[in-house]
C-alpha cells in the first residue's frame, strides 16, 4: 500500500494558482470543504423552503411577503397555491436528502478525513474526486434551476412515484420539464456518488499507511467505508431508474406508465409499463439511502464521543459488525415502504421480517454507546453534547420504526405524519446532529481555529429542545390519521389537528432561527476564532498527528506516519497523559488492542 501512495504523491504537487488551489482542486481536503460548503448552502435553502411550508400549514391563507419572487404563478397575492406548496415540499426533501444528508456527513467529512485517518497523502484518484464534487455541484444547479423554468419544479415528492412523474405536464404543473430536470439532477448526483464511493473504497483498502490494519481504522473511517459500499450499489440502481424516467418524457417510452390512463378525458399515448417497477427501483435505492445518511453519523458520533469519554467503546468490532449488518439488511427491507402499494400481500410479510430484524443491530449499536458511557470521564462540550443528542434522537426516531415495520399497523400509519416524524428524527435530525458534532469537533483541524463554545452550546440547546418540539408532535398527528403531503387540512377530522400544526410551525421557526447562530459561529470562528493547537481534544487518531494545523497539502509532510496502536487508546497511562496516539511507538501495558 505504501508504494501506491508514494507513487501517487509524486504526481500530486501542491498547486500554486488560485483556481488550482480553491476551485478545481485535486486536494481531498479542499474537496471536502467544497462539499461542506455546498451542503451548507443546500441546508439553508432546504430550511428556508421548510419555513415557507410550515407557515402555510399553520396559516393556509396567510400572505408571505416576497413569495411571488420564487415563482411565476405559484403565489398570487403572495399566498401559496396548492401546487406551489407541493413544489416547495418536493424541493425541500430532495435538497435535504441528497445535497445535505448524503453530502455533508459522507462526502464532506469523509473526503477531508478518510485519507488522513488511514494515513495517506490523498485519495487514489484525485481527478475522479474533483469530478465527483463538480458533478454534484452541477446536479444542485440543475435541480434549483427548475424553479425558474417552465411551470416550476416537479410537485411529485422526492419519491417521484410514477405514473404521475412520467406523464408530462398533463399530470400537473412541473410534471414535464420539472421532472426531467429533477431526474437529470439526481442522475448526475449519482455519478458524483459513484465516483466518490470508488475513491473511498480504494482509499480504505489500498492507501493505509504502515501498521494501519483494517481493525486499527477509527470508527468514522469504517462508517465511511461501509457507506461507500452502500453508495456504490444503491446509486447504481437509482441512476438507470432516472434515465428510464427521462426516456418516458423525451423518447416516448412507457417504462413506468401502464395502458388506459385517462387524463382530462384524453387517453394517454402510453402502454405496457409498470407503476410498481418505479417503486421497486426507487426503494431499492431509497432504503439504503436512509443508512447512507445515518451510518456516517454513527461513525462520527462514536469517534467524537470516545474522545470525550476518555475511553474506547465497549467493543470496536461489534460496532463495525453492526454497521455492516445494517448495510446488508438495508437492501432486504425496502418493501416496507410498499406494504399498501398493491404489491402481493405475502411480500409484505417477507419484507416485514428483515425490517423487524434490522432493529437488532440498531439496538446493539445503541446499547454499546450506552454501555460505553458507563464509567466514562465524560467531557461536556458542544461536540459531545451533539453526540449525546444524536443518541437520544436516534433512539426516539428508531422506536417508531417498530410501527412502520409491521404491515398491520402500517395500515393506519402509512402516508401519515407519523412517517414524517419517524424519518425526520432518525435520518434528518439525528444525521444533522452527527454533522454538528463533526463540525464542532473537527473545525479546529480544518481551519486552525476553535469554534466559540458559548455560541455552540446555545445552538445545541435550542436545536435539541426545538427538534423534539417540532418532530414529536408529528407522531401524534399521524396517530390521529393526519395524511402527509396535504397543503391544507380540509377533511373534517383533520380540522381539530390544525392548532397542533400551528404549534409545530412556531417551534420550527424558532429552531430554524437557532441554526443562524451556528452559521454565525462558523463564519466568525473561521476568521476570528481562537487559534487551535494541533491536538486540542487530546485525541489519538491520525488527523491529530499532522505536522501542521490545518494539515499541509500532502497531509503528513515528508514522511507518512507509522501506526502502532488501535485507534482509541484512552484511559491508559501514556507519556501524554491518559491517552496514547496511534503514531506513538511507546509500549502500552493496559491497552485495549484488539487487533
Amino acid at each position: 500500500m505504501h508504494d501506491m501512495a508514494k507513487h501517487d504523491a509524486a504526481a500530486h504537487h501542491a498547486p500554486t494558482s488560485f483556481i488550482g488551489k480553491h476551485v478545481f482542486s485535486l486536494d481531498h481536503k479542499v474537496i471536502g470543504k467544497q462539499y461542506y460548503g455546498l451542503a451548507l448552502l443546500a441546508a439553508l435553502v432546504g430550511m428556508g423552503l421548510s419555513w415557507l411550508m410550515r407557515i402555510h400549514l399553520g396559516w393556509t391563507n396567510l400572505a408571505i411577503p416576497g413569495l411571488h419572487l420564487l415563482t411565476k404563478n405559484g403565489a398570487p397575492g403572495n399566498v401559496m397555491t396548492p401546487e406551489f406548496y407541493l413544489q416547495l415540499m418536493t424541493m425541500h426533501a430532495t435538497i435535504m436528502v441528497f445535497f445535505v444528508l448524503t453530502t455533508a456527513p459522507f462526502a464532506a467529512f469523509g473526503n477531508y478525513f478518510l485519507p488522513i485517518q488511514v494515513g495517506a497523502e490523498d485519495m487514489p484518484f484525485p481527478h475522479f474526486n474533483m469530478m465527483s464534487f463538480w458533478v454534484t455541484f452541477v446536479a444542485f444547479l440543475v435541480l434549483v434551476s427548475s424553479f425558474f423554468v417552465g411551470q416550476g419544479p416537479t410537485l411529485g415528492g422526492w419519491t417521484q412515484y410514477a405514473p404521475l412523474s412520467a406523464l408530462g405536464e398533463v399530470g400537473g404543473p412541473g410534471e414535464g420539464t420539472g421532472v426531467v430536470l429533477w431526474a437529470a439532477s439526481i442522475g448526475i448526483f449519482c455519478i458524483g456518488q459513484l465516483l466518490g464511493s470508488l475513491n473511498f473504497i480504494t482509499t480504505t483498502l489500498d492507501m493505509r499507511t504502515r501498521g494501519m490494519s483494517l481493525w486499527r481504522l477509527p470508527l468514522s473511517a469504517w462508517a465511511w467505508f461501509i457507506t461507500s459500499c452502500m453508495g456504490l450499489t444503491a446509486f447504481a440502481v437509482l441512476m438507470p431508474a432516472c434515465i428510464l424516467l427521462i426516456l418516458d418524457h423525451v423518447a416516448g417510452t412507457s417504462f413506468f406508465v401502464s395502458s388506459n390512463i385517462v387524463i382530462n378525458d384524453q387517453l394517454q399515448p402510453h402502454s405496457g409499463g409498470s407503476t410498481l417497477l418505479w417503486q421497486h427501483l426507487f426503494w431499492f435505492f431509497g432504503h439504503p439511502e436512509v443508512y447512507i445518511a445515518i451510518v456516517p453519523g454513527m461513525g462520527i458520533v462514536s469517534h467524537v464521543l470516545i474522545t470525550n469519554m476518555r475511553k474506547p467503546m465497549l467493543s470496536h468490532r461489534v460496532l463495525i459488525y453492526s454497521m455492516g449488518a445494517l448495510a446488508v439488511l438495508s437492501y432486504m427491507v425496502y418493501g416496507h415502504h410498499m406494504f399498501v402499494s398493491g404489491m402481493n400481500p405475502v411480500s409484505a410479510l417477507a419484507f416485514s421480517f428483515p425490517t423487524l430484524v434490522i432493529t437488532i443491530p440498531s439496538t446493539i449499536v445503541v446499547l454499546i454507546w450506552l454501555g460505553s458511557l458507563y464509567g466514562a470521564k465524560l467531557r461536556i462540550n458542544t461536540a459531545s453534547l451533539f453526540g449525546l443528542g444524536f443518541i437520544s434522537m436516534f433512539i426516539s426516531g428508531g422506536v417508531s420504526g417498530f410501527f412502520l415495520a409491521q404491515p398491520s399497523t402500517d395500515i393506519m400509519l402509512h402516508a401519515t405524519y407519523f412517517v414524517v416524524g419517524h424519518f425526520h428524527l432518525v435520518m434528518g435530525v439525528a444525521a444533522m446532529f452527527g454533522i454538528f458534532a463533526g463540525t464542532y469537533f473537527w473545525f479546529p483541524k480544518m481551519f486552525g481555529r476553535m469554534m466559540n463554545e458559548s455560541l455552540g452550546k446555545a445552538h445545541f440547546w435550542l436545536s435539541f429542545v426545538g427538534a423534539y418540539a417540532v418532530f414529536m408532535p408529528f407522531h401524534y398527528l399521524g396517530m390521529a390519521g393526519n395524511v402527509r403531503r396535504y397543503q391544507a387540512f380540509t377533511p373534517d377530522y383533520m380540522q381539530r389537528l390544525i392548532p397542533l400544526h400551528q404549534f409545530i410551525t412556531v417551534a420550527a421557526l424558532v429552531t430554524g432561527a437557532a441554526q443562524l447562530i451556528f452559521l454565525y459561529n462558523l463564519i466568525h470562528s473561521r476568521f476570528r476564532g481562537e487559534p487551535a493547537s494541533d491536538n486540542p481534544w487530546q485525541a489519538t487518531s491520525l488527523e491529530w498527528s499532522t505536522p501542521t494545523t490545518p494539515p499541509p497539502h500532502n497531509n503528513f509532510g515528508d514522511k507518512l506516519p507509522e501506526v502502532f496502536h488501535d485507534p482509541y487508546q484512552y484511559g491508559v497511562e501514556g507519556a501524554a497523559g491518559d491517552y496514547v496516539m496511534q503514531t506513538s511507538p511507546e509500549k502500552i501495558t493496559t491497552g485495549h488492542d484488539e487487533a
Binding site: A162, I261, G342, T359, I368, G375, I380, M412, Y468
Partner: protein, 267 residues
C-alpha cells in the same frame, strides 16, 4: 450543565409519552369487524416501543448525570458485562420483541388480506381519478358493465366510460360521488384508477390501500356502526391531492335501499 442535560432528556421523554398515554390524539374509533387485532397490535407495539424509548432515554440521562465532570484522579471503568452483555441483551430483548410482534402481526394482516370475501359480499366498485372518487353499484342485474377508457368523459359525466347503448350490463349500473353501505354487511370493494396512483383510506374502517394504474385490486370489509365517515386519498396524486375525499355513509339496510333507489333515479 451535564445534570441539566440529563434532566432535560428525562423531561422530554416524559412529556412526549403523556399524550400517547392519555390518547390525546389517537386513532379514530374502529367500526370494522377486522380492526380489533390491528388495534391490539398497535397497543402492543406502543407498549414495547414506549418501554424501549423511556428506558433508553432514562439510562442515557442517568449515565450523563453520573459520569460527566470527572475529578482529576478518577479512572475510567468498564461496564461489568462488557460488549457481550449488550449483544445478548439486544438479541434476546429485541429478538423476542421482534418475534412476538412479527408473529401476532401476521394474524392481524392475514385477517385483512388472506381471508377471501364471503360469496354473498356486496360488490361495489371505486374508481379514483384526479381528484375525486366515483363509486359504482351493479344495479338489479348484479353485474358491472365493461369500462371503455376512451369513453371516459367528465364533460358528459360518464366517469366510468360506460357504453349503455351497446353493453346491456351497464344499463342499470349506478354511479355515485359518495359511498354508502349497509351496516353489518360485508362489502367487496373493487378498486381501479383512471389516471395516476391514489389511495383509499378510511381510518375508522382500518383500511388503507393504494390504487395502482394497470392493476385491479380489491378490499373487503364490514362496517359495524351507522354514521358518516371520510374517505381520503393518501397517495400524492397532484395539486388537488389534499382535497380528494368523499364521504362513506354507513346506513341501516332500509335506508341504504332507499338511498340506492334515489341514486338509480338520478342516473
Amino acid at each position: 450543565m451535564a445534570k441539566f442535560f440529563a434532566v432535560t432528556i428525562i423531561a422530554i421523554a416524559i412529556l412526549s409519552a403523556i399524550p400517547i398515554l392519555r390518547h390525546t390524539w389517537w386513532m379514530a374509533e374502529d367500526i370494522s369487524t377486522h380492526g380489533a387485532p390491528i388495534d391490539e397490535q398497535m397497543s402492543e407495539t406502543m407498549a414495547e416501543a414506549g418501554i424501549s424509548f423511556l428506558a433508553s432515554q432514562f439510562i442515557l440521562a442517568f449515565f450523563i448525570w453520573k459520569f460527566s465532570n470527572p475529578k482529576p484522579g478518577d479512572k475510567v471503568k468498564n461496564f461489568p458485562g462488557g460488549a457481550k452483555a449488550m449483544v445478548w441483551a439486544a438479541v434476546l430483548l429485541v429478538g423476542t420483541e421482534v418475534l412476538a410482534l412479527g408473529v401476532f402481526g401476521v394474524k392481524a394482516w392475514a385477517n385483512v388480506y388472506f381471508t377471501p370475501p364471503a360469496a354473498d359480499a356486496m360488490p361495489i366498485q371505486v374508481q379514483a381519478g384526479q381528484f375525486a372518487f366515483y363509486f359504482r353499484y351493479p344495479g338489479p342485474d348484479g353485474k358491472f358493465g365493461p369500462i371503455h377508457p376512451d369513453h371516459i368523459s367528465e364533460a358528459t359525466q360518464n366517469f366510468y366510460g360506460l357504453d349503455t347503448d351497446h353493453d346491456p350490463d351497464s344499463k342499470d349500473d349506478i354511479v355515485t360521488a359518495q359511498m354508502a353501505v349497509p351496516v353489518n354487511r360485508e362489502i367487496h370493494l373493487f378498486m381501479h384508477t383512471k389516471d395516476v396512483g391514489h389511495s383509499f383510506f378510511v381510518p375508522e374502517l382500518r383500511v388503507q390501500q393504494d390504487f395502482v394504474p394497470g392493476l385491479d385490486l380489491s378490499l373487503h370489509f364490514t362496517a359495524t356502526k351507522i354514521g358518516k365517515y371520510e374517505i381520503v386519498c393518501t397517495q400524492l396524486c397532484g395539486l388537488g391531492h389534499y382535497n380528494m375525499k368523499a364521504y362513506l355513509s354507513v346506513m341501516s339496510q332500509q335506508d341504504f335501499d332507499n338511498w340506492l333507489k334515489q341514486q338509480a333515479a338520478l342516473q
